[in-house]
Amino acid sequence: MKSKPTDLLAVSLYGMDGRTHKTMTLFIQGPCKGVAKIVEEHEAEVDIIDADAIDARVTLDHCLARKPLRPIIVLSLEKLKIEHTIFVEKPAKTETMLAAFNEAKDTLKGKKKTPIKLIKPEEPIRAEVKVETAKVSKLKPSKEKQAPFELATEKKVFSNPLEQKKTAKHKAAMMINEQNFSSFIGIVKGVNFNDPEQWRNARYHTKQYYQGYVQSSIQVAYEKGQVIKLNSGWKPLIILPHSHELWLDADDKQLRAFAGVEVSSIPVSDVKVMTLSKVNPKEEGFSTELDKFQEMNAFVWKLACWTSKGRYPAVLSISEPIYLKQWPNFTRLVITPHAMRIAALLVVGPRSMLDIIKVLKVKPQYVFIFVSAAYAIGILGQSKRQADQIITAEVPAIKSVQKKSIFSRILNKLRGTDKT
């Protein structure tokens, strides 16, 4: 028995040229007859995207942002694993396509029962953010961050000139030396870093600052796999998890100022507006202001630097070993004084902040700020292994004094010629 027309799944096609579109339409009208029908974008229940199209990433972002609850079927020659999508390998076979439609139908039914609750802009999310912040801080070192958009075979994502321009503007590294540290980063009142007894007090709770809210929101955006806006009562921040970017209508000076303000010191009426909401790209109009996009890690790193101001995150102990999972991508980050030395030391093996200060003979605030930034982007953590507390990795021994000297002179040359 034929399905009633009303039972037909309304699908919309994306990323297909005229010929492919026609072929797909015939395929749906023929072998898949009675199951689905092609409709206009606004009428569709399901989106079908050709992931081999050069602008597939943009299309997917668009679909996710516009209708987060709408199932998406992704067609590709390569096997793809993209969260919240249904994959069909090309050439699409009737069986697999019908199975995908059934899965989409099930998803639609499931979603009708238990819709994903998005926080309305008017709804304060303070309590929820706190929960999410706790989740961030509990991330274990062994847990690899799951990329929500695993396009392993994707080679040229940003093919149109607009996207290309956006990517090209990613900022290069900025090197901060000891002389301009205070002017660029800021000063913490109430802590005398010259007194080792006060080092333990040089800590801060990320949750009490904008940094904590941003990190929690990023976590939510990744978990839901959708574009989210953080309304902070300051400037709206849009998080784009699929391209690993953020959009903020503020310059670095403004961000630096806001980063240092304790949220608890903001009047309650203002805090109320710290909310998360879903984003409609068309309404927001953010996609046209390309210079305001920032790479996620670069943004979080500098935000952590400006929040820390030379303090360390309170969740970490300065006397217990910390580990560094990998070198930070320094060419795209703010490089604080001695950051590269600290990274080089930590990748050899875990050691405590106090130990790093002693071994490298550097001021504590340089160690603390590096730790804060690396912790914020998830590449640093407190070591839990007992063995790390007993065995501290040795500093790699340099072959000869002569070589040490030549390395130092090369560094001086490089630093002298590329100061910013």
């Binding site: 392993a152 040229k156 070198w327 004084p337 030395r341 050899v348 040490k404 090369i410 040359k413 010629t417």
Partner: protein, 179 residues
Amino acid sequence: MSQYKIIFTGPVGAGKTTAIGSLSDVPLMKTDEAASDMTKERKAETTVAMDYGIMNINEGEKIHLYGTPGQERFDFMWDILTVGGIGLVLLLDNSRADPFKDLQFFLKSFAGFIQETGVAIGVTQMDVSTRPTIDDYHRQLKELDMSIPVFSVDAREKKDVSILVQALMFSLDPGIDEE
């Protein structure tokens, strides 16, 4: 006076010649020729012998910057080139078909030299091809039990190449005085 070298290696078109040019204090001595084999699909000219640049550090002391020929048929030269080298800069082109294969190939080819010295990896063309990501490279390296610097690099940007070489120096000795 001791002679020190930094070796730049990587596949064809990864930016070795450009990176050396970014750091060199003298005009680069290039041995590029019009590519006649399949290399020409990636760049019109390719380095057939080696690139050479100089970084003057002080009072006549020089650091020699050598770029290996990108084509594998010249790999017999690599051992000779690395003699006296203080470290390796590996540049990888993210837009190539399989950058991880390149990564493994070069790490294996220079394994002995890397063991003796160190390596820093610069990934170029990330604006053209955003995948694999820097994190993906680290995951690959973790499987090889290696924790080495891997940075996004625009070989035309002196600052990028400089930071990469600085990281190489620090990975050789974190105790070097910075300022």
